[in-house]
Amino acid sequence: MSSNNNKEEPKKPAAAPPAKPSTTKTTAPAKPATPAAAKPPAPAAPKPAAAAPPPKKEPEPPAFEKGLVDEIKKKFGDSIKTVFIRPLRIKIQVEPRDITEVATFLRDSMGFDHAESVTGTDYPKDGQIEVTYHLGSYSRDDLGAQVLSLTTRTNRDDARLPTLINVYKSVEYHERETFEMLGVYFDGHPRNERFLLPEDWADIPPLRKDFRIKGR
Amino acid sequence: MAGETAADFAPILYMLGFGLVASVPALILSRLVSPRRRYNPVKFLPMECGQMPTGEGRSHFMMQYYAYILMFVVFDVMSIFLYAWGTALFSIPKAATLPIIGFLGIMFAAMGYALFLAGRKGIW
């Protein structure tokens, strides 16, 4: 009922400051593994200065992956932020309210037909949690090696995201795991419940950074 | 003289009794020898794979194959009836095979239909 309200709220902080650790990823892969796009390993030039348009920092984005990103951008415009484009790996960041739409587009028009994993990362400095869907494709042969990371960010204190279970059936257990490990409530997910942790777990979600393992 | 046949069967009863004689002391001996630790009530719960048992242990409707049990009652009777025929085969005239053929025919028809019914999925 109040999901509408809650959905609106986290989008503001997500849009405002580009998160530092994620935007500064400029490491070129040292050893390209792909047979087709065998690129000479560019010397890693990490530039930690946060800048808004990250794609420019990439040495030169491979053509095929660039084409994929362009296709997405053509549909959704500026609501998509490209975090990095590397051989076989693309990471894009979207607003929580757009994610269902983008995922539906990716599934229907692009051929990313399943989610390999759903993972979350806690950034206490930014006060945000980044949730990443690693999308892959079984049905398109040329996309077989590609992994598209669909990322979204939500407020850390009231972590809520729309579920993608209606788009990707395969995220059902992954989202459940993310819920209990990071405390991200997925609106519309049928079972935001305990999954892996003990039945009497009463602590904060363990993968948040403020959860410390005893004795360490 | 009544009871001659019963006397023939007596060894079966004795043997049954001997089965008891052989097994009851084993249980008693085991009861005497083995430890009895009864302080842990969880130990006596029915097996439920390490969980607390839920629901009744006994009520279960294995209805899908109930038909076979119903059929068994009737066809068991039929097959033992055939023994009466089988033992008497040498002493009856050959024409007397006809009734048993008729009997078998009827039973085959019934069995075929019953097996057809029992084999249908979803109605049991």
């Binding site: 650790p21 994620s22 490491t27 047979p35 390999e116 395969s170 | 409707f61």
Partner: protein, 386 residues
């Protein structure tokens, strides 16, 4: 739409009569696991209507040990011995992907001979895992010989790995930058001899198990996962390949030297329990060829491990690398913040993805099909729990 309703709809699609009335009379809740000879360290609750399963709810987590959290407290090298714990029968493969990801983050190149030794160890370990899996599949179906033979023949590969790595199961062999040590003397001959013998043994497996009509009766047309459903559920590894999708990370995204190896992706089209159990067997056959090729093509000498400092660290960044493990694609998503310890490690394992297919396939099956469907999913509970 709740999950239960969803399952009921799926089961209707499978053609099962779901009892609407007098449900409480007919349904019996059975808990399979954790102390069940047919579950492993895993529990799922099923509801049976007579002989048919109408509801299934997996409840993993009995062996969850927070590997992802643990990794954040140790540096990249120290993570190796505990990251292989989730699946010690396939411990080379699970550290393989980790090593690849760390190498990408830190920026090291593995020497060529090291890459070959890695691949050999990985293939041998795949055999070990698959044989163990096959043994349990045999005993699940009541075939005790099929339990004993693979566990015995697994010893061939365990001995090889023990000669190579120094440990029988928990190898801790792959390390960012290569492998821990070079092959011992005479390893190649021993390896080829034992692999050849094993190829002969595989035929016996086929005779006594896969071609056994009783086994076929139990597994054919049981738990059919169609191609569309397989894609929709995002399953991985042999389950996926059994449904008719020839997808293998070694082929789709060749890591290390796999693009130089000539091998076929084994797959079947039927998608039933039999196909799911037969694809790993075909993989084992193919793996024997791969091992022989690797041994042939391996450089005779050279470095096996790149030099790197004891506390390797790279620039901030993230990497997602996958390998094909015994249970399908195994991916590591590592985020580094520039320190020697990873900021976040996510292990994306095939078992966890295949678990989703369990309720999907079990609903509508007979109770007796439960083990054959469950274990054909190539599910390793410890790995799924991580």
């Amino acid at each position: 739409m709740t999950s239960l309703e969803d399952k009921f709809e799926e089961s209707k699609r499978l053609g099962l009569q779901i009892v609407k009335e007098s449900e409480e009379d007919r349904l019996m809740t059975l808990s399979i696991g954790p102390q069940h000879p047919g579950s492993g360290h895993f529990r799922f609750t099923i509801k049976v209507d007579g002989d048919y399963i109408v509801y299934c709810d997996p409840d993993p987590g009995y062996v969850h040990r927070g590997e992802e959290k643990m990794s954040e407290y140790r540096n990249f090298i120290q993570n190796i011995p505990h990251l292989e714990r989730p699946v010690i029968h396939d411990s080379t493969n699970i550290t393989y992907a980790y090593s690849l990801a760390v190498e990408e983050l830190v920026g090291i190149e593995v020497p060529r001979r090291g890459q070959y030794i890695r691949a050999i160890a990985s293939e041998l370990n795949r055999q070990v895992y698959t044989l163990y899996w096959l043994a349990i599949y045999g005993i699940f179906l009541g075939h005790s010989t099929m339990f004993m033979w693979p566990t015995g023949d697994r010893e061939l590969f365990i001995d090889l790995l023990e000669a190579l790595t120094g440990a029988r199961v928990t190898h801790a062999f792959n390390i960012p930058g290569g492998v821990r040590n070079d092959t011992p003397d005479g390893f190649k001959d021993r390896c080829i001899r034992q692999v050849r013998y094993f190829e002969k043994r595989l035929k016996e497996y086929e005779d006594i198990f896969y071609n056994n009509p009783l086994f076929r009766q139990r597994t054919e047309q049981v738990g059919v996962l169609t191609k569309e459903d397989a894609i929709k559920l995002g399953v991985a590894g042999s389950v996926l390949r059994a449904s008719g999708i020839p997808y293998d990370i070694r082929k789709a995204e060749p890591y290390d030297i796999y693009n130089e190896i000539d091998f076929k992706v084994q797959y079947m089209k039927t998608g039933d329990s039999f196909a799911r159990s037969y694809v790993p067997f075909l993989d084992m056959k193919e793996s024997c060829h791969i091992i022989e090729q690797l041994l042939d093509k391996m450089p005779q000498s050279g470095e096996v491990r790149a030099k790197l400092q004891p506390n390797p660290k790279g620039p901030p960044g993230e990497a997602y690398r996958r390998v094909e493990s015994g249970r399908g694609a195994l991916g590591y998503h590592i985020i580094s913040d520039g320190t020697p310890k990873p900021y976040r490690v996510k292990i994306s394992v095939g078992s966890f993805r295949n678990m989703l297919a369990l309720p999907f396939l079990l609903v509508g099956q007979k109770l007796a099909d439960m083990p054959s469907v469950y274990w054909s999913l190539n599910y390793w509970p410890v790995e799924a729990d991580r």
